[in-house]
């Protein structure tokens, strides 16, 4: 796998979806992509987006009504990670059960509700060490502990993505407003129609949470 050069994180997501690379290999590709001076390639046209494939596969039965919205959100989220935060990320093709989240003893989470014509709450949950790494990466600050700046960093990540998401929804005639982000620690999220996705960057692993009501 290592001999093949990846120019876009979409390609790596497609490989992950089809089981053709491991987490370690995927993270290696992301490191290469990040250090490359090449411009990332455009979104794949004329085919199902690999992010959509991954979310549809993991959403499963019971989330049929929400799946399209969750897919659109995750496409935007991962685009923003690569574009705005220079941190390409991928969805790992494995179901995240509630007991997986319960096992994360020391964690921090941030969420933000978008309410109006539809209700959707999105958030990031991570073990403390991973939360801090993600906060440092997104803020480009050398953060030493989970304090107000670290939480603000993840809140800004979610807020920026959600802002672009509500603009995308407005173009589809769906009117929603952003609420102020919330944060919490050592939580086990239980949201309605909740989907938890395990996400990796080159060196950080965290969980994306999507639901139709507050889970913090």
């Amino acid at each position: 796998m290592k001999q093949k050069r990846m120019s876009s994180w979409y390609q790596v997501q497609a490989l992950l979806n089809s089981g053709q690379c491991t987490l370690e290999e995927a993270q290696g590709f992301l490191t290469e992509i990040q250090s490359s001076e090449e411009q990332p390639s455009d979104s794949p046209d004329g085919e199902v987006h690999p992010v959509r494939q991954a979310v549809e596969h993991l959403a499963g039965p019971g989330l049929e009504r929400e799946t399209d919205l969750y897919c659109s959100y995750m496409e935007l989220f991962l685009d923003a990670m690569a574009g705005f935060f220079q941190t390409p990320a991928l969805i790992l093709p494995e179901s995240v059960m509630v007991d997986t989240l319960e096992a994360l003893k020391k964690n921090h989470a941030v969420s933000q509700r978008m309410g109006g014509d539809v209700s959707i709450v999105t958030g990031v949950l991570a073990e403390d060490a991973e939360f801090l790494k993600l906060a440092s990466r997104c803020s480009q600050e050398d953060l030493k502990r989970i304090d107000a700046l670290a939480k603000d960093s993840i809140e800004e990540l979610i807020n920026v993505v959600n802002g672009h998401f509500i603009i995308q929804l407005a173009k589809r005639g769906i009117d929603v407003e952003l609420e102020t982000p919330r944060s919490g620690k050592n939580i086990v999220p239980h949201g309605d129609q909740q989907l938890a996705l395990r996400v990796c960057t080159d060196s950080i692993i965290f969980y994306m949470l999507l639901a139709t009501d507050d889970f913090l």
Binding site: G163, I166, E177
Partner: protein
């Protein structure tokens, strides 16, 4: 102007205020901070800034309400919205309410410089108009 441009920034994110302060100070501005809309209104009254950079989604009093009050109290003050909530509806609403510009987050240094230049021009124009009165 023979003194620094004094700008009020209002955002509930301490991180954003820290980064924006650094950008504005590098551009030669003096910075006052507020962490929500209510504090922004108070600061506007007390500190009489030359311009305001205002977020929309904030606790207690949001940016839209703050913009309304600030414009009632200081109709001439230039206010630039800096928010993630830049739907066409919000954009139109804030511009109609008198906002000078709307910057969608995440911002770039160029956008901030352009906003500062626009505020500076507006302030100088006001000073000239006052002189000629």
């Amino acid at each position: 102007m023979d003194r620094k441009l004094r700008l009020l920034i209002s955002d509930d994110s301490k991180l954003l205020r820290k980064k924006l302060r650094a950008e504005l100070e590098a551009l030669g501005c003096e910075v006052i901070e507020a962490e929500n809309g209510k504090e922004a209104i108070l600061r506007d009254l007390q500190d009489e800034p030359d311009g305001v950079i205002l977020d929309i989604v904030m606790p207690e009093v949001g940016g839209i309400e703050a913009l309304q009050v600030i414009k009632e109290v200081s109709p001439e003050i230039p206010v630039v919205m800096l928010s993630s909530a830049g739907t066409p509806q919000k954009l139109m609403q804030t511009l109609k309410m008198g906002a000078l510009d709307f910057i969608q987050k995440p911002y770039t240094s160029e956008q901030i410089k352009k906003a500062v230049d626009a505020i500076q021009k507006r302030v100088e124009k006001q000073h000239e108009a006052e002189k000629n009165e």
